[in-house]
């Protein structure tokens, strides 16, 4: 495994996420994982990015009416962004708390919406920014650095 990329790829991957489209989250994460493996990123970095993508895409599928996921690879970091149209988040600090969830009963019964998504994302990100307007939508920006950087606990 290499610590830095051989060249400077500027790759952006885009995915559309529909309402209640629960399978797409796994698909997005799997596809990005494959791309990053081809680029030779470290396994633990890829794992963190896959978790962020899965959880962020799942949040859009569960809570929004539609949204987009963008994954951008630059020479030092991976940026993951979701933009959605939907309910928005009333209290972001509360939403970040592990176990807090507004997901419906059906969604929870499927094993989603356990209130761990945002805290999983936070744990895996080096930088995380969430902006939301109630009744309008939410954007989430996460960044993971991969150049000789280990995430501090």
């Amino acid at each position: 495994m290499v610590d830095s990329l051989q060249y400077t790829p500027q790759i952006t991957l885009e995915f559309e996420i529909g309402e209640k489209d629960f399978f797409i989250a796994g698909e997005c994460a799997s596809r990005v994982k494959k791309t990053l493996q081809q680029l030779g990123l470290k396994q633990d970095v890829i794992k963190r990015i896959a978790i962020i993508i899965y959880e962020a895409a799942m949040n859009v599928a569960i809570h929004a009416t539609r949204g987009m996921l963008f994954v951008h690879v630059d020479p030092e970091a991976i940026s993951i962004r979701t933009e959605d149209v939907g309910a928005g988040i009333e209290d972001i600090d509360l939403a970040m708390k592990e176990g807090y969830s507004t997901a419906s009963y059906e969604v929870r019964e499927m094993g989603f919406g356990a209130g761990m998504g945002l805290s999983n994302i936070k744990q895996c990100s080096d930088e995380l920014k969430i902006e939301s307007k109630v009744g309008v939508g939410t954007t989430l920006d996460a960044r993971v650095y991969f150049l000789n950087r280990d995430k501090a606990d």
């Binding site: 629960f22 399978f23 989250a25 796994g26 698909e27 994460a29 799997s30 994982k33 896959a50 978790i51 899965y54 959880e55 799942m58 499927m110 094993g111 989603f112 356990a114 761990m116 998504g117 999983n120 744990q123």
Partner: protein
């Protein structure tokens, strides 16, 4: 041990034919919450769960699980099995509970 050996040792049904049976298993995880699985399952693990909808296959694929183990002889839809085959994921099923299966699988893996 391989998925095949584990299935044979614990008398688990293999529902996906020959798919992924030679895969090595070194660990396991028991949970029905997908975020918990995503965050905590190890590499080369079997995943014991009562969730049986196709969306869990996305998680299994992402975490590259060795096999999914369904307890209590729970019913599975044909579409789930077919999708698992397409994705190359082995589905095993036992008659015991998730608790008992977890213990039995743990013992097998500790024995090497």
């Amino acid at each position: 041990m391989t998925v095949r050996d584990l299935a044979a040792a614990l008398n688990l049904e293999v529902l996906t034919g020959g798919i992924n049976l030679d895969r090595q298993v070194i660990s396991g995880y028991t949970s029905d919450l997908l975020s918990d699985v995503i965050a905590n399952i190890d590499d080369d693990a079997v995943w014991i769960t009562i969730q049986r909808h196709v969306n869990i296959l996305g998680v299994a694929k992402l975490k590259d699980v060795a096999a999914i183990v369904i307890p209590r002889k729970l019913d599975l839809e044909e579409s789930f099995i077919e999708k698992a085959k397409d994705e190359g994921i082995a589905i095993l099923r036992g008659s015991r509970s998730a608790f008992e299966l977890s213990g039995l699988i743990y013992n097998q893996l500790m024995r090497g």
